[in-house]
Homo-oligomer: 704 residues x 2
């Protein structure tokens, strides 16, 4: 049984091998003519410059954490922290490098139709997907094998958790910094280019076009990659650390099954990785640009990978827990994992329902543009808020199912003691999150495909290729918008479940440090209640800070684009040989977004530390308050933003007067409001919740 | 000491007498020429028709509650419930009747300048203020005297609480229904009149103008009155019911001071009423339209009343609790009350900072109109969200101070048992809410003054009076916008404190019914956590429902106004003798808003009942989750809405291009988005929280 971490490590290395193989395939493709290579290189250099500077800034922050962790826990935990941070950064860097190589190659391949272009874009995404999943799992298994299996270090599980914190740090800053960058550039390019100068999107005359394309890569590729790296690692760490703390507190109940319980999450990660690798070979493009056929081709990989994971999970559960006469344990845990997977899928579908123009909510928003921007905004806000209720109900059903499955399993394993039942329930919730994320490799591949297709279209436009090429890339791009929904559902759902499981681990960690004096989490206690209240306010502050940051960064961008149109003769008219100073726009967006990233990023780490050292019960309340309110706010912002975006696209496709009409203008207002909602504040919120919980968990022993 | 309820009753009757006296003064004033009387009567009839139908609808709902209460508690509680509901409705009706009488009279008086007009408007408001405070207190004291003092009924305190629930029912539906009405009419009048037909606000040609003015009365007067009636009654009931439950559970600790603890809240209400009466005589207008002088005149009454209340509270505390050697008890409780008053004031100032055009946030929103409606919306959302953090921190400071004061007092009274200390802390929080609301009489007077001045301006415009009259009414009106901030701060702050105290009473009520088996409020328990999560989602759903309701009701209004402009010849051109069919607009707004009120209103009552009967621990989590998230959302929506409103007014006053500029158009978009935020969803949210808690409290015994 102890072979599981080695198996998982091997599967992770296989995933990395696959990433290398796909990298070779992508590289072999032609990047097109000189102009296309030039554009690709510009985007690539801009993105690399951003990442380099971002990582420099984050290093300073990580250094402080490193020292703190070394003092408070053990220097070995610092090493794990560093490994988590470095691997996450590396995954982002690799993914982004390949994405910025794959864009022009997809454009070039699009000249020969979708059957040729789809696999290029998907493989570009798959390098990212398997770099993320492979590095996250390999690093984590390495830490586990060295500190738990080999060294049997007394603080082994704190060290494992520190690995997660390293990943979380990078994820938080990548999401916030990348999110600010991408939206500042987007808003700057749109407001001055499209609205003021009246030139189309991705026009080479617009100085912010390159920055806008860079933004797609640093936000949607590198940011998303770091996010999923963190979510994936976190979902495996949560049940492991829960079991470790439970064992430390009452070893007797669980002793017989201790190893199985520790191995189960890693075993699921192992089968998920293998399933993802198999699935990724099944994505093949057809000859038609018909969206259904393309969608089927792209989804084939994910669907097969999930089916394999479901079947294999049942096998794993019986292998690890099938020794008893009763089959309650394997059945219960399989229910938890599969329940999580299904709920994650349902969450993605819910997000799709509220944000896709095939359904009523977006159609209603589009109809509301008839009465102007105000009603457009109101209907989007309302749709986003209703989607909160729907998503929360789903998550709660997921929590209920997973809890019930886990409880059933633990009653069979550890008897009917109340403590065992409760731990079992939370363990069920934790492994449900893995159910959602086991196939991260292929899910992220599909997700990273989106910005590559988007960029490919941008390059087609900027290189002034034949419109038929743009048609193909547009078909690929529109597909990317809907596929992202599934990944989002998994990311969001797993965030809630993982945060809840980590929260419980935090409770156990405090109890371990303070035997007989458990954390008070009674809402009726005034210190807990104060924490709860403060926790509910925090996500609002975080959202406001990130929205403002986008506003300020966009403002600097707008000023620069205006200046260039004013001062560079012939630019606006498109005189041959006159080029905008794109590099300056890239530099401005980089500097502004990194400056703006610091305060909201630091908030997530500083607040729990300060509150924890003052009163640890208040911290418990704060984490719970932030979790429930932050989750609701994140769903609201993501879905409202997505709905406005697609309402605009729906109108651009010809509904309600189409492009250029007053209705379209109203829809553009909605889309612009939604931009920081869905691409900055919303996605960063999920990481905020986990960072706060994991910081509390890592520093639990220092608080008491 | 037992004389306190009688004193409070007497002071309430004195307040009612004062309302009658002011009513006489207002009535004596001339309502102006025939045209003005016609307009006034139209508004009056529209408002009365709405209230009549609203109360009919609510009666059906109240009847169901009545039967439920009679079965579950005792028929006597139904009587108290009915009394609370009827008196609250009566206060709203009286206030609205006088407000719609005072509007034309203020216009007429404005012909002679502000010194004449200010007192008319204020006295009109004061009838409302003292009707609300007087009826609420008189009814409550009557219930207390009959059931507690005289009958010593075994369920006396449940009966007292039922009175509060009656008031809450009316408040909820008045806020929701009135809020939908006023915004549907406002948006309808603005969108078609101002934007499409290009005629100014309050133009007599606009068929929705009367409905818009009716809306000001049913929303801002009757709705606000019912809201304050409920808040005021609730703030007195909360500490009384807390003490009653604490006594029932462990009488020994508190026996010596039981009566004092029950009397203290009523005694503060008594001195607050007397102070309000004194203060109301000090409001006198000066000769200038200078806003500072007017503001000073209007605020004089409130400031004096508060100063008296503070001093008298200290006296009362020493009278009731000064018997011991230690002065910890009176000092501690005085700290709680005065702390509450100061925090309420600070909350009002915070709201003012974020919503008044004298400060940075609104100026920034106005500046953001330069880059269009999207940035206007984003900066308003951000300002509203930052104000959440500021307000929550203030409330938590208030909770901390009040808790500390109450704890100190109870340690002196009841010894150092942990239970006594905790109850003491919550008692401190409960009486802090009374500190905020003791001067309700004069505070509501100032608040109700606002819509009267607003309507007076409308009548001046519609009756086509000399522009100098409009100038005076505009000066009075702009004052009303800022004065409302204080009342809002009190209403919002007291909502949080009262809900928290009622929540604790709910906990004690469950313990009383289920001795030895207290409510589990441990966030770590999965059923509590599920409740917490569900509770966090509920306010989002409520906000979405109310926003949508306004949208749908406004849509019907827009269609009707368009129809009239299309079908009534000469209306748009202002042909003499051609009048719009205002009555039809009023009827449409009435019907639509009442229909839309039902679902969000019922939600507040049905959800806690359903959840409570399933799992009472989950209900505890749900109440806590709704309280913290709903509070945050309410502050966000109210302040963002207020900020947009005043950013628009700031531009209309000449900044950033002034009226008619593109910036102004962007500001109007912000204002329109903010309308349902600040006048429908936001204010109703506060009542939602209390209704849910008080429903749970009343039905606590039935749940277990």
């Amino acid at each position: 049984m102890e072979i599981v971490p080695y198996l998982a490590l091997a599967s992770a290395l296989a995933g990395l091998g696959l990433a290398g193989y796909f990298f070779g395939l992508v590289k072999k493709e032609s990047p097109g003519d000189e102009r296309m290579v030039f554009l690709m290189t510009e985007i690539q250099n801009g993105a690399k410059a951003f990442l380099k500077q971002e990582y420099t800034w984050v290093s300073a922050f990580a250094l402080v954490m490193l020292v703190l962790i070394a003092i408070v826990i053990t220097p070995l935990a610092s090493i794990a922290y560093l490994l988590g941070a470095v691997l996450s950064a590396l995954a982002g860097y690799i993914g982004m490098t390949v994405a910025t190589m794959a864009n022009a190659r997809t454009t070039e391949a699009a000249k020969q139709g979708p059957a040729k272009a789809l696999p290029v874009a998907f493989r570009g995404g798959a390098v990212m997907g398997f770099a993320v999943a492979g590095l996250a799992l390999a690093g984590l298994m390495l830490v586990y094998i060295v500190f738990v299996t080999i060294m049997e270090h007394e603080k082994a599980f704190e060290i494992v958790t520190a690995y997660g914190l390293g990943a979380s740090t990078i994820a938080l800053f990548s999401r916030v910094g990348g999110g600010i960058y991408t939206k500042a550039a987007d808003v700057g390019a749109d407001l001055v280019g499209k609205v003021e100068a009246g030139i189309p999107e991705d026009d080479p005359r617009n100085p912010a076009t390159i920055a806008d394309n860079v933004g797609d890569n640093v936000g949607d590729v590198a940011g998303m990659g770091a996010d999923l790296f963190e979510s994936y690692a976190g979902s495996i760490i949560a049940p492991i650390s829960l079991v470790a703390f439970a064992l430390a507190l009452s070893a007797d109940d669980l002793a017989d099954n201790a190893t199985s319980l520790l191995m189960f999450p890693m075993a699921i990660a192992f089968v998920g990785m293998i399933a993802s690798i198999i699935g990724s070979f099944l994505v093949k493009g057809g000859d038609s640009t018909d969206s259904k056929a393309l969608s089927k081709a792209l989804h084939m990989g994910t669907n097969v990978a999930m089916a394999i994971t479901i079947v294999a999970t049942i096998g794993i559960a019986f292998w690890l827990f099938g020794g008893d006469d009763s089959f309650d344990a394997p059945i219960g845990l399989a229910i938890s994992v599969i329940g999580g997977l299904i709920i994650g899928w349902a969450l993605g579908k819910t997000a799709e329902y509220y944000t896709s123009d095939h359904f009523a909510p977006v159609k209603k928003i589009a109809a509301q543009t008839e009465t102007g921007p105000a009603t457009t905004i109101l209907s989007g806000i309302s749709a986003g808020m209703v989607s909160v209720a729907a998503s929360v109900v789903l998550v709660l059903i997921g929590i209920g199912i997973a809890f019930w499955g886990g409880e059933m399993a633990f009653e069979s394993i550890a008897g009917t003691s109340e403590n065992a039942a409760l731990t079992g329930g939370i363990y069920g919730i934790a492994v449900a999150a893995i159910g959602m994320l086991a196939t991260t490799g292929v899910v992220v591949s599909v997700d990273a495909y989106g910005p590559i297709a988007d960029n490919a279209g941008g390059i087609a436009e900027m290189a002034e290729l034949d419109p038929s090429v743009r048609e193909v890339t547009d078909a690929l791009d529109s597909l990317g918008n809907t596929t992202a929904a599934i990944a989002k559902g998994f990311a969001v759902g797993s965030a809630a479940l993982t945060a809840l499981a980590l929260f419980k681990s935090f409770e156990l960690a405090i109890l371990k440090e303070r035997p007989g004096n458990p954390l008070s989490l009674d809402i009726g206690d005034v210190d807990v209640f104060i924490g709860l209240f403060l926790g509910a306010a925090l996500p609002f502050l975080f959202a406001a800070l990130t929205i403002d940051a986008v506003g300020r960064a966009a403002y600097e961008m707008i000023e620069e684009v205006r200046r260039q149109f004013r001062e560079i003769p012939g630019l606006r008219e498109g005189k041959p040989g006159v080029n905008p100073d794109s590099a300056r726009c890239v530099a401005i967006s980089t500097k502004a977004s990194l400056k703006e990233m610091i305060i909201p990023g630091a908030l997530a780490v500083v607040v729990p530390l300060v509150v924890g050292f003052i009163d640890v019960d208040t911290l418990g309340g704060l984490l719970a308050g932030s979790l429930v309110t932050g989750f609701a706010l994140a769903i609201f912002m993501s879905n409202a933003g997505g709905a406005w975006d697609n309402a605009k696209k729906y109108i651009e496709a010809g509904a309600h007067g189409g492009k250029g009409s007053d209705n379209h203008k109203a829809a553009v207002v909605g889309d612009t409001v939604g931009d920081p909602f869905k691409d900055t504040s919303g996605p960063a919120m999920n990481i905020l919740l986990k960072v706060m919980t994991i910081v509390s968990l890592v520093f639990a022993s220092a608080f008491v």
